[in-house]
Amino acid sequence: MYDVIIIGAGIVGCSAAYCLSRCQLRVLVVEQGPDVAVATSAANSGIVHAGYDPKPGTLMADLNVQGNALYPKLCKELDVPFRRCGSLVVAKAGEEDSLRCLLARGRANSVPDLAILGRDEILSREPNIAPDAETALYAPSAGIVSPWELTLALAETAAVNGVQFMFNTRVTGIQVKEDAVQAAETEHGSLFAPIIINAAGIGADHLARKAGAERYDILPRKGEYLLLDKDLDGFVRHVVFPVPTPISKGILVLPTMEGNLLIGPTAFDVWDREDLSTTREGLAAVGRGGLRLFPGLPLHKVITSFAGLRAVPADGDFVLRRSAKVKGWIDAGGIQSPGLSAAPAIGEKLVGLVAGLTELKPKVQLQRPPVRRLRELPLAERQEWIERNPLYGRIICRCEGVSEGEIVDALHRPIPASTLDGLKQRTRAGSGRCQGGFCQPRLIAIMARELGISPLAITKAGPGSEMLAGRLAKGEGE
């Protein structure tokens, strides 16, 4: 029996868990995937938008700007890297009206320090920008963050403060009695709570229907991305957008927090909610979109590509409300862009919605154990850590400089890695230019050893994605 169940361990669910973990409540987060941040939260642009894009007066607009303002303090508390690099919406000849519209919206949304830049100023900020860039809307408050690093930090902090996490558990139904929430039904049995927060991403509308709550629809919209190598010498310094289209902010180019260059996303509505495949046309469109902003973009340095699904709310705004029909049911659905930007504010708002249903008694919030990133430490400190634990001196992932000690740590954290993708998200092992070619066999061996399981049981992303098919037959005498 829990006080609150949160369905979905993406950025929204984990932000809610983090905020609720300041209160004396029994909270459970139930997630169908094997880990936090496996769906939309893992496959987005990692941008903390300034907030000039959403329509004024919407939740999207308010929470984007509020969330953006909360980022520096939150990331400092959680030890998650965050950089306010600023954004530029670049207009070519004839597109100036779009910029004026965004500027007006930004002002209405109280976005700080917006400015319109002329060609010279754009060039001084982005020397590699297309020669036909004429004007740009500059928003200094925009920033970049690693979405899975933030989600994990929120989740781990929640976990050390008592929030429980249940993975590989799909919610198949909602038990409602006399118009009040009773339980979430899963393949492993019923989970009882009088309050359920629906942060189920792409599937949130289906769950809301199962609960009998007010209906809304989610339209999955796929976005494809290209990720380029690191060390491109600051080829792009800001988050750079073209002028927006009716359905998306366009194909942008930005540096990631880890130092790569990211291009994307496309915007293509799909029916299949499990379809995360990239397409030839989509990737080609991403390339063209990138070249339109930066003609010299080194596309030959692509190291990987991926696709994500946005949970687009059909009615155009976040669905963040207590149900009036079903007591205890709280929807947090349709969180497409600016979902990541708004996430800290969404978490606070959800606590406010819970407060209307039950008494919230505060408690001291503990910090999660610090994350060691040895490659960032000065040599003397690195030496100390290695003396304490020699495994910090053995580099396993050569491309990203990740030691065996850090990998072992990730397998024993408050929310430990249980898949290779989870290891990659926590340590960056396997996310570099060789994409695991060098380190993957070693990671499999380390995981098997640390988790005490056969290497045949190691998965890429949960049950069904086992890495290996068998062992070689041993010869006689072995």
Partner: protein, 413 residues
């Protein structure tokens, strides 16, 4: 710590250079190797065919490596395994291992880091991202070192040697290799590997084909192959669905030059390796390079010979021999690249050029010219991009000051 010579990489290139440097009188030598054992990629090559030129024998990769490993001890060459070089700055080599961070001030450095494999991401194969996609070398490591089978029904993309060797290896372990697809209209691998790895096992080789789709959300369920046109674009309507649980990618090797780039060493955009002279001296004073880090070799025997030239270069450098001037060596007609890309003068020994042609040619004639004058001409039976060619230019014929161009003309196959 100080050393005369620090060699980064303990594969055949690094070990060959260390032993030759020692033979030439260099005494204070370190080899730094990131893996647990010496041997580099040879460790996982359990097939034979190594050493045909150098030893007149058909050794396995491990046996070839052991010949060098055995000699390192007697030569007193210091070896640090399980140690990763982090950076090199002004002759200072900084590395890390279980004992901590170490720094060695080197009189000369030889880069011998080998190469890495090109990935799915780098060639933009669209589709889902399931488990079951491996580069051929990573699969080889899993199989031959860890004893683990990555899949049971395989499609291999790329008919380079690694892909061919793995086709046979997987078949011998009971997996079914359904096809080897090759983008080009000809195979990239050694002729003997096509025969011994594909033909002998009735594995179909689909030339002018590539993978256009990957299916399966958690574990690979199948791939879509398609034929390509002369511009390597997939032909609509030629798609072929192949159910499989393993896709091996053998789509190219990329010399591992992160350290070199950080040092600001000039890199050849065709080889992706450092620009070197006949002594394997890079554009950074006192830093030499040899083996796959300079250009991807087909035969380890050539790597060993090249490593001896680098060792001689480093030994001469340590004796204060300094280059006086250079001449450029240019790849001409039908030549993809030539190593060395420049010659330092005066040339005291015969020059060994290693090169690759762009297209397969019958009865090719290689011609080395400078200032309009033909220096040497060599006719061969056949030239293929997949088989590195060697040309020797006698020291006496090296021009005093005009650039050299190497061309290859013949009948297209």
């Amino acid at each position: 710590m100080k050393a005369d010579l620090v060699i980064i990489g303990g594969g055949p290139a690094g070990m060959g250079a260390a032993l030759e440097a020692h033979r030439l009188g260099v005494r204070d030598i370190f080899i730094i190797e990131r893996d647990l054992f010496l041997g580099g990629i040879l460790q996982q090559c359990i097939h034979n065919g190594f050493g045909l030129h150098l030893f007149n024998e058909e050794l396995t990769g491990g046996e070839y490596a052991q010949r060098f490993i055995d000699q390192l001890g007697t030569a007193g060459i210091r070896v640090l395994t399980d140690t990763m070089v982090l950076e090199v700055k002004s002759g200072l080599v900084r590395a890390v291992n279980k004992d901590g961070v170490l720094e060695i001030q080197a009189g000369a450095i030889i880069l011998a880091m080998g190469c890495r494999e090109r990935t799915r991401g780098a060639i933009n194969i669209p589709g889902s991202r399931p488990a079951g996609i491996y580069t051929a070398g990573a699969a080889q490591r899993l199989l031959n070192i860890e004893g683990l089978l990555p899949g049971k029904r395989a499609v291999i993309l790329g008919s380079g040697d690694i892909g061919l060797i793995m086709a046979r290896r997987l078949t011998l372990e009971g997996a079914k290799v359904l096809a080897v697809a090759e983008l080009m209209p000809w195979s990239n691998g050694l002729a003997r590997n096509i025969a011994q790895c594909l033909n002998d096992f009735d594995i179909p080789l689909l030339l002018s084909h590539t993978v256009v789709g990957i299916h399966g959300s958690k574990r690979l369920q199948g791939v879509t192959l398609a034929r390509v046109d002369e511009k390597f674009q997939p032909l609509a309507g030629s798609e072929l669905s192949v159910p499989c649980d393993l896709l091996l990618l053998s789509v190219g090797l990329v010399p591992e030059n992160e350290l070199s780039r950080k040092l600001g060493i000039a890199i050849d955009s065709v080889t992706n390796g450092p620009v070197v002279d006949q002594h394997l001296h890079t554009s950074s004073q006192g830093i030499f390079a040899c083996g796959n880090v300079v250009h991807v070799h087909d035969l380890v025997d050539f790597v060993t010979l090249e490593s001896r030239r680098a060792a001689a270069g480093a030994a001469a450098w340590l004796q204060n021999s300094r280059p006086r001037s250079w001449l450029a060596v240019n790849p001409g007609e039908n030549i993809s690249y030539v190593v060395p890309q420049r010659l330092t003068l005066p040339a005291q020994e015969d020059i060994t050029f290693l090169l690759r042609v762009k297209k397969p040619l019958k009865n090719p004639i290689f011609s080395v010219t400078a200032g309009g004058v033909e220096l040497i001409k060599k006719q061969r039976l056949v030239a293929r991009p997949a088989e590195m060619a060697e040309l020797k230019l006698p020291a006496a014929k090296v021009p005093a000051n005009s650039e050299i161009t190497i061309d290859c003309r013949g009948e297209e196959q």
